[in-house]
């Protein structure tokens, strides 16, 4: 997956990234303006909060996918890994009755461990990322069903659990702005991921792997180790998504998750991250995820028939990526 995308990325990832973010951001703004004009019900506090709440899970998954995609890989297992982590939280908290922090840490560690496995299979066994994570997607889906006994696990015995996503720390301080905690967690994960990508060795190697893996290898870097680390970090982030969705539903739904990886990947590419690796930003992904949920919410508010909603969303994804290709050609 190391291809010619390396050269434009090296000519100045900051500038092109910033330009694309502007593009995606203006797209998001345009959608918001159009929907606000079309319906007075769109620009209401409660609806904006509903949109942010709907973005939180997909946004976190998309950030995990962003890291992997920048290395030139792909992670198809983010959706079912999220569910697996939710089920692990259910086992720890509901089946075993352990305290809340144990469930939180356990779910995230389950994500890390699963990411490690994917990373090792890809880096050491040389299985292509598409196949390795496709396999993991199915393994994790099956394990979630086995462990849960194919039934939802409820968190009724852990009273604070729903607060992780549904509570509102901001609302406690500023009652007019009851921003759900899930949204704060999304922004927190985004800041952390942006920091890792921009300021740490792991971030530098993530971009380098996607630009030209062979060059990195020849310069004496332990490529395998960094690659495994990226998948493990992505896995941990999926663990956070698992906690968010379980908290929102007050249950771990074992059959859910497959298909969610596609929405995550859609958010990543709308946000301007290149599927061939070496280029991408967390902010872009965040905007991409927001575009998807604003679109879904706005079309629903306008009572657009569901068949057409799907058509419009698909069209927007293709147009967004086409705009990106045009921009790169014109550079």
């Amino acid at each position: 997956m190391t291809d010619t995308a390396a050269s434009p990325a090296k000519s100045g990832p900051r500038i092109t990234g910033a330009f694309h973010r502007l593009l995606a951001f203006s797209g998001l703004l345009a959608l918001v303006v159009v929907f606000s004009l079309a319906s007075p019900n769109f620009m209401q506090t409660q609806n904006i909060l509903a949109i942010l709440q709907a973005t939180s899970v997909n946004g976190v998954l998309a950030i995990a996918a962003t890291l992997v995609i920048i290395t030139g890989g792909i992670d198809l297992s983010v959706g079912t890994l999220m569910t697996f982590c939710a089920v692990i939280a259910g086992v720890l908290l509901t089946f075993w009755g352990l305290p809340l922090p144990v469930g939180v840490v356990g779910a995230i560690l389950a994500g890390t461990a699963s990411g490690l496995v994917s990373g090792v299979v890809i880096a050491k066994l040389k299985v292509p990322p598409f196949i390795a994570t496709l396999g993991m997607m199915l393994i994790l889906k099956g394990l979630s069903l086995v462990i849960s006994g194919t039934r939802p696990i409820y968190f009724n015995d852990t009273p604070g659990f729903t607060q992780i996503s549904q509570g509102s720390l901001v609302g406690a301080l500023v009652p007019v702005l009851p921003i759900p905690n899930g949204v704060l967690i999304l922004f927190g994960v985004a800041l952390l991921a942006a920091f890792v990508l921009g300021k740490t060795a792991l971030g530098r190697y993530t971009f380098a792997l996607g630009s030209n893996e062979e060059a990195v290898r020849l310069s004496g870097v332990n490529v395998d180790r960094w690659k495994i680390a990226v998948y493990a970090v992505a896995g941990s982030i999926c663990g956070v998504a698992g906690l968010l969705i379980a908290s929102r539903l007050n249950s771990a739904q074992p059959a859910l998750g497959q298909g969610y990886e596609l929405d995550a990947i859609a958010a990543v590419v709308i946000g301007g991250t290149s599927l061939s690796g070496g280029r991408g930003t967390v902010l872009g992904t965040l905007i991409g995820a927001l575009i998807i949920s604003v679109l879904a919410n706005g079309l629903r508010i306008l009572s657009v028939a569901q068949e057409w909603q799907t058509v419009v969303t698909g069209t927007i994804i293709i147009l967004a990526v086409y705009a990106d290709i045009l921009r790169r050609r014109n550079l």
Partner: protein, 314 residues
């Protein structure tokens, strides 16, 4: 920038175009139905009923549901967006009652009446539930079974699961009816195939091999019923099979005689009566706690009659 602007223009044009369809009923009631599914034939039949009621009663009806019945969070997003739209009433078929409580609470606080459909919501917020009386429907299957096997002998049940409301109700409705009304019929086995065709086939074959004198088997949903019929065919048995629901495969089996017949729910009626109940609630009329949307037994003889053909789906 130019392309992006075109893109937005195209999107908004599309949105306007699609929105202009149902927008005619502007000063009439606006009713949002959030279902458990969308593209499945059963749910499309519910939608058809809801649309018909909308046209008959002059109200604007929208119908949405997630792609699969596991996507509880997507259903919550749909319910949240529906609430933001500020509809006059909401129809809701919960995938998971608990997850929906905070949003239903919101509806209650804003005085938006909620009508549950298909399966109940474990909450007192919905004013009524438009649903199939599964206990009575399965009891009808028991009556037909008793008639077809001559009122005596051994029978079995292949159910879809032991935890869902429909699974429990259909099993109990059938078993209890047999016990109460037909003392000469013995139910030798009740097994669960998860509604999976293949698993239900294997179960059926093992039941038939263990009980060569078995006279009949009841399959409690579409997948179970098809599995039972396949098992019968693979063993060349002539046991009487009664199924549940329709769908192209099951209809063919009934037509060919492999299946003696099946119970069908009335999905069109579920959709129609949900909208009707919502309008009644908005007019301040009293509603019963449960609206029985009806069910029918169909076999090769009556399945083409207009009344039955209207409630069957492929």
């Amino acid at each position: 920038m130019l392309t992006r602007r075109h893109l937005i223009a195209a999107a908004s044009a599309l949105a306007m175009l699609a929105a202009s369809g149902p927008a005619f009923a502007q000063d009439n009631y606006d009713i949002a139905l959030i279902s458990k599914g969308f593209q499945h034939q059963f749910w499309q039949a519910v939608k058809a009923g809801a649309d018909k009621a909308g046209a008959d009663l002059g109200v604007n009806v929208t119908f949405e549901g997630p792609e699969s019945e596991s996507q509880v969070d997507r259903q919550m997003d749909m319910l949240a967006a529906a609430l933001s739209r500020n509809p006059d009433a909401i129809g809701f078929a919960a995938l998971d009652s608990q997850a929906a409580i905070p949003l239903l609470q919101q509806a209650k606080e804003r005085n938006i009446p909620v009508i549950a459909f298909d399966s109940g919501v474990d909450s007192d917020i919905p004013l009524t539930t438009a649903t199939t009386d599964n206990v009575a429907a399965a009891a009808l299957a028991a009556d037909v079974m008793a008639e077809l096997i001559g009122g005596e002998g051994k029978i079995a049940v292949v159910a879809h699961d032991q935890t869902s409301r429909t699974g429990i109700d259909r099993r109990d409705g059938f078993v209890n009816r047999i016990k109460e009304a037909y003392p000469n019929i013995e139910i030798v086995s009740v097994q669960y195939g998860g509604g999976d065709q293949l698993q239900s086939t294997e179960i059926t074959k093992s039941i038939l091999l263990a009980n060569p004198d078995l006279k009949g088997i009841f399959g409690t949903n579409e997948g179970s019923a098809i599995g039972v019929a396949n098992g019968k065919q693979e063993l060349g048995s002539n046991v009487v099979v009664i199924g549940f629901d329709s769908g192209a495969a099951q209809k063919d089996m009934v037509r060919s005689g492999l299946m003696a017949g099946a119970i069908t729910q009335n999905p069109v009626g579920i959709g129609y009566q949900t909208v009707q109940a919502a309008v009644a609630a908005l007019k301040g009329e009293a509603l019963p706690p449960v609206i029985d949307t009806g069910f029918y037994f169909y076999d090769a003889k009556n399945m083409d009659s207009p009344e039955i053909a209207a409630v069957l789906y492929d």
